[in-house]
Every structure is written in structure tokens, then in C-alpha cells.
């Protein structure tokens, strides 16, 4: 159950629109089913009342949309940001990707998002409705009158299982209060892979990455991937490619994708959320984050606007590359 209700959010957003502070709101729009929520720009109170949703399936991070949205008009846009989204928000500001003055950031408290894929693994296909019921989700299907009761904690999306922070890193106002930076276990999975033998690691990633269909969803959704022309789309880069033609191309794409956001990735988890093949892409990004923390000191991208990213910084006493590999667990 989310701390703040849809009703309260709408009321506040309506006020903001009425005050003329903002002329539009970037929020979540309801879909055909409970879980297929779409990012949408709302321009009126009526529209908000009819279509705005807030609940366990509002995973989409709006930070990246602000680049496009703020360029459209001089009026302020209100944006709803969950705690993890605010880190991306700050990171984009650090990189001067949009004008802070044109944004009114509304932080919403988040209790974690559910993963429909995990739900379907329990209930099967044919979901007709999902109702929030305290700490549970009641999932109704067209095959049964009675709902399947699922504990939300059992179907939390991957990134929420190891939530790094319930504290908003940026906001103009908060709805539902603020939380704390959490002592997250998000590097456990990475450590598990590091502990494997070289052959096991190779086999693991071979299995994961071979599913890639190069739809580019991970890249296009990533708030840190904001190049105007990606090397993979640029015929002059020498590495333009559209298809996972073989194992090499798969690895090339994913290593470069993760590397390019290394030090800038806030670990928002959008890449893994959107992957149609459910490749745990966040484990690549987290590896870089973990290494950066181990080699160059704790760093959380997007925590502070204007912080210097580790890859555009150095220390004379930095670890030598040959000593780095395998020394991640200091």
C-alpha cells in the first residue's frame, strides 16, 4: 500500500494547475489493465481526475522526459518523482540537460513497485484486476471468482527489493513525507557473481546476454543515456549496429552501454525493468558502481547536484588496473 493516496496527489496537482504555477503535469496515466501505466503529460484537472493513477505499478522514471518537456515551453512543468527518480533528476541537472527553473518537482513517497511478471508467475495469465489490500495484493483472474492473495513483498520489482533510498535527493515539495537512505543489500548479487569461477561467470553472462534482441529499450529508457546520437546509431562511429548478430555484438553493446553510464548511473533500475527479455542489466551497472566505491571511495551519482563523477576525476594514488581486477572486495 502506498503511503499517499491517488486522491491526495490529484488534489495537490489540481491546486498547482489552478494557481498557475505550472501548466502541465508529468504523471502516470492509467491503462487497459491495472498494471500498464503510461507516462503522460496532463494539462487539466479533468484529465487528472479521469486518467491519473498512483499505485504499485507506477515504475516509470520521468526524469529523462524533462529534457524534452522543458524544451517545449517556458512555463513550468510539475513532475512527480519517487525517491529513486530524484537521483536521476539530480544527475541530469549535474550534466546540464534541462533547466531546473522550468520544473516543479513533487516528491512522492514510495513503498516499492510491484513487478507484473512476478505476479503472473504466481497467478498465470488472464489477470482481470489487481486490488491493493493492506500489505497484500488481491489478484483477480478471468479463470477464478476468488482473488489470489499475494504478499506485495513477494512480487516487488528487482530494484525495489534492494531499494537504496526512501529519501528524496531533490524536490520542491513532498507528498507523503520523506524517508531515509537505506542500508541496501544491492551489491549482494554482484558479489555472488564475483565469487563464481571465471568459467561460471562467462557461462552466466553468456546465458543472460544471448537473449538480447537489441530492441534498445534499456538504452532509450535510461536517464543517463542522453546522447543526441548514440555510437550504436551513428554510421560514422564504425560500430553502428542494429542486431545482436552474434555473441560478440551482444557483449560489445552491453559493456559499452554500461560503461558509458559508469559513474553517472544512479542505479534507478529502469534498464532491467523495461527489458522484454528480462536480462538483469542492472547487475552490469551495479558492478561499475561497486567497483567505483571500492577503488575510488563511496560515490552515489545524483545524490548532490554538481558532484564530480569518478571517471572525470583522478587521484595520484589510484589503484593500478592490474591490481584492480579481483580486488573489488576490499
Amino acid at each position: 500500500m502506498q503511503k499517499i493516496s491517488r486522491f491526495d496527489i490529484i488534489n495537490r496537482l489540481k491546486d498547482l494547475l489552478a494557481d498557475g504555477n505550472v501548466d502541465r503535469v508529468l504523471g502516470w496515466k492509467k491503462g487497459e489493465f491495472r498494471y500498464d501505466v503510461t507516462p503522460h503529460v496532463f494539462t487539466s484537472a479533468q484529465e487528472l481526475e479521469a486518467d491519473f493513477v498512483w499505485g504499485d505499478f507506477c515504475g516509470a522514471n520521468f526524469s529523462k522526459y524533462l529534457i524534452k518537456e522543458t524544451a517545449k515551453s517556458d512555463k513550468k512543468v510539475a513532475v512527480l518523482l519517487k525517491p529513486c527518480d530524484t537521483y536521476s533528476f539530480n544527475q541530469l541537472l549535474t550534466e546540464h540537460r534541462f533547466d531546473r527553473e522550468k520544473v516543479y518537482a513533487v516528491g512522492v513517497a514510495c513503498d516499492g513497485m510491484a513487478d507484473i511478471f512476478k505476479i503472473k508467475k504466481i497467478t498465470g495469465d488472464g489477470i482481470s484486476d489487481i486490488k491493493e489490500n493492506g500489505e497484500d495484493l488481491d489478484v483477480y483472474t478471468i479463470y477464478d471468482e476468488k482473488p489470489v492473495k499475494i504478499k506485495k513483498t513477494d512480487v516487488l520489482s528487482e530494484r525495489c527489493l534492494s531499494c537504496k533510498s526512501k529519501k528524496h535527493a531533490a524536490y520542491d515539495e513532498l507528498l507523503g513525507g520523506d524517508g531515509d537512505v537505506l542500508d541496501s543489500n544491492r551489491f549482494d548479487e554482484v558479489a555472488k557473481i564475483e565469487a563464481m569461477t571465471e568459467e561460471e561467470r562467462y557461462a552466466f553472462w553468456q546465458g543472460e546476454l544471448s537473449r538480447c534482441i537489441r530492441c534498445n529499450a534499456c538504452r532509450d529508457v535510461c536517464p543517463a543515456c542522453t546522447c543526441e546520437k548514440c555510437v550504436f546509431d551513428n554510421p560514422n562511429s564504425g560500430m553502428e549496429n542494429k542486431s545482436p548478430a552474434n555473441e560478440f555484438e551482444e557483449k560489445l553493446f552491453h559493456i559499452i552501454r554500461a560503461f558509458h553510464v559508469a559513474g553517472r548511473c544512479t542505479d534507478c533500475g529502469e534498464c532491467s525493468r523495461v527489458c522484454p527479455q528480462r536480462i538483469p542489466l542492472h547487475l552490469l551497472n551495479r558492478k561499475f558502481i561497486k567497483d567505483i566505491n571500492a577503488f575510488y571511495g563511496e560515490y552515489q551519482a545524483g545524490e548532490v547536484v554538481g558532484s564530480r563523477a569518478p571517471l572525470v576525476d583522478f587521484d595520484k594514488e589510484d589503484v593500478e588496473p592490474k591490481n584492480a581486477v579481483g580486488k573489488e572486495d576490499k
Binding site: F33, H40, G126, R278
Partner: protein
């Protein structure tokens, strides 16, 4: 009509794989996926595989030819090898119908020989959808998932699999396994069909119609203001086009190896910004035009060129995969129906 106990399916697959390469949907951690049958593989209960079976006929990447160059000389080398017969098992009716859509494109003159060769050697064994998903809307296009077509149709009922060959190719396959099949009548299958049809009436998208779309609707739909709102949060990734069983756009590219050039084709997506880009300009400038192209193509342009047939089969894959959950159903609901 023939039948075999579900518990005897491994024997059936073993027998078939002696003669054919058999591909069937198998459950993996990340969803169902077509896989070449190996002993011990179990047919998935899930109807939708993440990727559609179009892969077998129109693979994501396909080498077409090689070039050897020496000085100013070029040598074109045909690298196609003869294809063996293969079976794709457990294809749902929407996916079977997707081949009709692809055939109209690839087999129309001049035929695409790469695709045609695979179609000639592929045997489609379909299956009735006993447990459709909430995202299914094949009925919208008049597709009947209780009456699957393909070379052989199958139904699952009461621990038994019923098989009915529909074509010569299908008969040939049946003759390979006839030793382990027994003859059956239609009763159980008819009961199963009835059951399926009752379920179809409970599907949430059962009332979706194609009203407002189809041949001749270009002028009416092209400049509708709704496109801007529908496409505003589209990321421009290619997920919908890559999981779609009917999307068929491709790119032809060259890869320079250390020894000549491979010309290959790979799936492309109208959602990509460089799709139509040329030195002279770009006719589809923003994501709105690209987004509109995809749906106009499926719902208007394709039917215009193919006797009213829509190039969507209602499999629902894009509903499940789109990162922002924008999809053809939402587009049809926003633009279709009666226009006031």
C-alpha cells in the same frame, strides 16, 4: 483426428526429432521461449512466447551473401545452404495467422527467396488456446483461437492431445508418428472448443473493434490530433516491432570481415530515428511521425494493399513488452470507433 496422451508427448517429440528439427515453446525463468527439442524438454503451458515464431522464417539476423574483393574486382558468393524440413510446434492461432500477413509481403512478386525457402520447409503445428491471457484480442481480427489452422491443428483436453492434419505437409508428419497415435472422434475437441469460446467472452478486450480503420481511412486518420498525445512518451525503442509477429521491416547491411564482406539483413524498426533518414533529408522528423507510421501501417496501409487484412493479429506481445505500456489497443481505442 488422432490422439495421444499428454504423458506420452515425450515419445512423440523423440520420434519427430529423429526426422525433423523440432522447435517448441519451453519455460525459462524469463518467460517461454522456442527451443530446439532435446530429450527432457517440456512443452510450455504459456501461450505467448516472448519472441514470436517469425524468427524461424525471418530471423533477426540473416547472412545473405558474401563479397570477395580483390583490387577493383568483386566476386559475389551465394552462401545459402539447402534447408532441411523443420517443425515449429505449439503455434497459437494468432501466430499462425501472422504468417498469412508475412506471406503477403515476402511471397508476393518478386518473392523473397530467403523467406520462401524456409516457409517451404517449415511445418507449423498449431494449438488451441485453452487459457488465453487478458492481453489477447485476436477475436478483434476475426481469428478463432479455438479452431487453430496450420499444417496440423492440436487441442489439449483432459490429459490428451488431439491432432488433426490440415495439409499434405501435415499428413507427412502424422505418418511419421502414426505408430504412437490412435484414431479419435471430434467429441472431446468440440467440447474443448466450446469451453474456449466461453472464456473468450470473459476477456477484457473482447469488445475492441477495428471500426474506423482499414482501407481508405488514411485521410481521416492521418492528421488526427490524438497522435501527439499517444506518441508523446514513446521512447523510440524497437521493442514492439521486435516482439511483433507481423512486423517485417528490415535493413540490409554490410559487415567487413577480415576476409571480404558479408551482406546480411536484420530486423529494423520504423520507430528508429534513422529508419528513413537519407542524405537528402528525413521525411519522418519526430517520434510522432514514426509512431503514427507503425499503427497506420498495421491498421490502414497494409489492409489497403492486402484486401482488407490487418497486419496485427492480436497476440498481445506488445501490450506485455512496451516499456511505457503504449500499444495498439490504446491507439485503436483513442482513434477508432465512431468519430463525432
Amino acid at each position: 483426428m488422432y490422439k495421444i496422451k499428454i504423458s506420452d508427448l515425450p515419445a512423440l517429440f523423440d520420434k519427430l526429432s529423429e526426422k525433423y528439427d523440432v522447435f517448441l515453446p519451453v519455460d525459462f525463468d524469463n518467460g517461454a521461449k522456442y527451443k530446439k527439442y532435446e530429450k527432457g524438454d517440456v512443452l510450455s503451458e504459456k501461450l505467448n512466447t516472448v519472441k514470436s515464431p517469425k524468427d524461424f522464417f525471418f530471423p533477426q539476423t540473416e547472412d545473405m551473401m558474401r563479397f570477395k574483393t580483390e583490387g577493383k574486382k568483386i566476386d559475389v558468393i551465394d552462401i545459402r545452404e539447402p534447408k532441411d524440413d523443420f517443425i515449429v510446434f505449439g503455434v497459437t492461432e494468432c501466430d499462425v495467422k501472422s504468417f498469412e500477413v508475412l506471406d503477403n509481403v515476402f511471397l508476393s512478386e518478386p518473392a523473397d527467396t530467403y523467406y520462401a525457402e524456409k516457409r517451404a520447409h517449415g511445418v507449423l503445428i498449431s494449438r488451441a488456446c485453452s487459457k488465453p491471457s487478458e492481453t489477447c484480442f485476436c477475436k478483434t481480427y476475426g481469428i478463432d483461437p479455438s479452431e487453430p489452422s496450420g499444417d496440423i491443428s492440436t487441442w489439449k483436453a483432459d490429459g490428451t492431445l488431439y491432432l488433426r492434419p490440415n495439409t499434405d505437409k501435415g499428413e507427412a508428419v502424422i505418418s511419421v508418428i502414426s505408430g504412437i497415435l490412435t484414431e479419435a472422434d471430434d467429441d472431446e475437441v468440440n467440447k474443448e472448443k466450446e469451453k474456449i469460446n466461453k472464456i473468450l467472452d470473459r476477456l477484457p478486450l473482447k469488445n475492441l473493434t477495428t471500426e474506423g480503420f482499414g482501407a481508405g481511412k488514411t485521410a481521416e486518420l492521418f492528421d488526427r490530433p490524438e497522435w501527439a498525445g499517444l506518441s508523446q512518451s514513446c521512447l523510440g525503442c524497437g521493442t514492439c516491432t521486435f516482439v511483433c509477429p507481423t512486423c517485417q521491416c528490415y535493413d540490409i547491411r554490410d559487415f567487413k570481415t577480415n576476409d571480404g564482406v558479408i551482406r546480411y539483413r536484420c530486423w529494423d524498426s520504423c520507430m528508429y530515428s534513422e529508419f528513413t533518414k537519407m542524405s537528402a533529408g528525413q521525411p519522418r522528423l519526430t517520434q510522432k511521425e514514426r509512431f503514427r507510421q507503425r499503427f497506420m501501417h498495421k491498421l490502414v496501409y497494409y489492409p489497403e494493399n492486402n484486401g482488407g487484412l490487418y497486419s496485427c493479429v492480436g497476440c498481445g506481445r506488445c501490450l506485455q513488452s512496451c516499456p511505457i505500456s503504449m500499444n495498439i489497443v490504446k491507439v485503436m481505442k483513442a482513434l477508432g470507433g465512431k468519430n463525432e
